[in-house]
Symmetry: C2
Amino acid sequence: MRIVDYDRNPEEIRARITRSREPDRSIGSRARSILDAVRARGDGAVLEFTRTLDCPIIDRIGLRVPDAEIAEAYPQVDVRFRKALKAAITNVTRYHKRQLPRSWTIKQRGLRLQQRFGPLKRVGIYVPGGKAAYPSTVVMNALPAAIAGVKEIVMVTPCNAEGKILPEVFVAAHECGVKEIYRIGGVQAIGALAFGTATIAPVDKITGPGNAYVAAAKQLVFGIVGIDMIAGPTEVVVIADDTANPSYVAADLIAQAEHDELASPVCITTSQAIAERISDEVDRQLENAPRRAIAAPAFEKNGCAIVVKNLDVAVDIANALAPEHLEVLVRNPSRVVRRITNAGAIFVGEWSTEALGDYIAGPNHTLPTSGTARFSSALSVFDFMKFTNIIECTKHRFLELAPHIEVLAGVEGLAGHAASVRIRRGKS
Amino acid sequence: MRIVDYDRNPEEIRARITRSREPDRSIGSRARSILDAVRARGDGAVLEFTRTLDCPIIDRIGLRVPDAEIAEAYPQVDVRFRKALKAAITNVTRYHKRQLPRSWTIKQRGLRLQQRFGPLKRVGIYVPGGKAAYPSTVVMNALPAAIAGVKEIVMVTPCNAEGKILPEVFVAAHECGVKEIYRIGGVQAIGALAFGTATIAPVDKITGPGNAYVAAAKQLVFGIVGIDMIAGPTEVVVIADDTANPSYVAADLIAQAEHDELASPVCITTSQAIAERISDEVDRQLENAPRRAIAAPAFEKNGCAIVVKNLDVAVDIANALAPEHLEVLVRNPSRVVRRITNAGAIFVGEWSTEALGDYIAGPNHTLPTSGTARFSSALSVFDFMKFTNIIECTKHRFLELAPHIEVLAGVEGLAGHAASVRIRRGKS
């Protein structure tokens, strides 16, 4: 892993922070053409893309997974998986229940104002698949929706060529309240959820991670449906001082790097010696890493250890990067944690490894990437809710406020607004 | 205004509910080319588009409005405006302070989990302008940002050919905590806020209404910065029974229609007689309406009174339309209000006219349009905040959870995640 001295080479670090990512227009236009086809031809287009890209026998087995197939998954999964899933569900449920917003009312001199929360009616969860199974994605998306009170939770996930989906995904979906499962993925799945087809009723919002095409499709349908966020490649920043265990830091950087060749495993440290030991440990641990083929390129492209002169500089760089995940492995972490303003999630101390948060600690693992932690947050129960402002005014208070409304509407040239007040004052 | 009997003509109403609006690609591609120019050439492009589209003398007067020009606005505004503005600020502040989320912590057997809220650092507010002034837009966007704790609130608003902006907008901006004002509008203003230029530092999020080009530009920069929502033409649905005052209903429909030729003024009523009287009143009041040229086409294109057999049907139609504004003018409104699930804001009873909410009641007037109230909410303090999940785990609890993490990472094929746990258990 490359080691960069920040004082000697600040430009290189600043270049990483530049946020004007040039969008890949070819991905966007490919996504757009698939969406157009799904909008125009519905199931026919969804079947066609699924047949070609994922599963030649899709027409025979159908888009929707029958309940029987989900029931058959249970005996196929290991009991240890069932136990681990149960522990994850318990912790994620506890954290997300705490997020539930409460409706409230302000009453003041003839004005009764209410902010009333309610769940979305129908949401779609995108779960990547194909070769691998991601039950944790199911947990982190479906549970918050269920806790929010969403009645119709729909899941889409691509099947393999034989039409199969891994049984752990079915079990997680069933345990987390998913009501319908369709064995489709990619842009065509996003289109089906957004526009609806004869088989799949349209949803109100789509959440969940996906590749660059899925992300582009979500951006394009935003406005027709809600979306959670536009996910980019995953990132971790570890802030470490000379008390950090280099083996742990290296292992955590590799855990992030193994997701994607475009992942960013970054360490910021006050110690040149620790930087070197982390770098050596990364090399050593990568040697036998099963996912070395993905992780090694990530280190080459985006990995680095940044040596800084003190923790304040480390905090400034971390805030500018606004990473998805931030680990704080220093002598006195609370001082650093307090100063961090931009991070999807913060992992404090050497036992709070990121994998703990990915699977089981309780908070959501769906986090803002690509610097979007500057303005957005982890997925939460509120992503599956909305509120309505309710306004109720007495005649007396209305007449008191009416002259102000007429003045303001007058300034804005909105004569009809003023007239709607004047007519109630008996002046029209 | 056309009167439609729902039972006889349900297809017409259902066609309104269809949400697959075909996007206007020519607007999107024009917006994209202006954004590309601003990204590539910064101030030069912003000046060029402003010079051509808004103000030929922009190079001489500069993009940023000097503080002196803002101070000079105060003596130019009417004292009644100052009083009305103050009343609006008081009420909007009270409501939005109530929205402030609180950070919280869960401690449980060695796990310390915190959801910590904080403000965005820098936000940009788009205020339409040119011929008209919209101080209420300033209030409804800048105040929630200021209450959220945002330190840098930037406003962009187009000037006229002489470089002027109406003084009421300056006064509202100054009173609501806006720190920088630039006299630019359109797609070029959105680009400047998103990418930054030599003169204008980039922001973290852009909020505020605009025309179709501004909306398209906001959608395109979403991901680089946050945005509030993609605003479409404004809408009102009035649910009225035979107790509703037809003059009031007509006045409120016109108040909405005067915004935009594409506005949707719709009434749903259980009474054919009331529908006819409302229709007559609309015609009568429109005759002398100063903004008739805008309002009349809105009634022709999108206006209608829908006659239904009972209020349950009215509620179902309203929920399917998911209108930006919903007025409930019926004998027993609470029964109807309780059943409404999709509406940006609800105005209850004949004194709670929409203009009250637009200007002064307290809740935000920036509301979801085009059916997006199915999945989104009014602008709020939380739009200017974000949260970070903070995870802290003891060694003891980590070792207890570790086997579960290894099982789940194993199912997902993420060997590096499992290794990051195993190494802490001393097994690597």
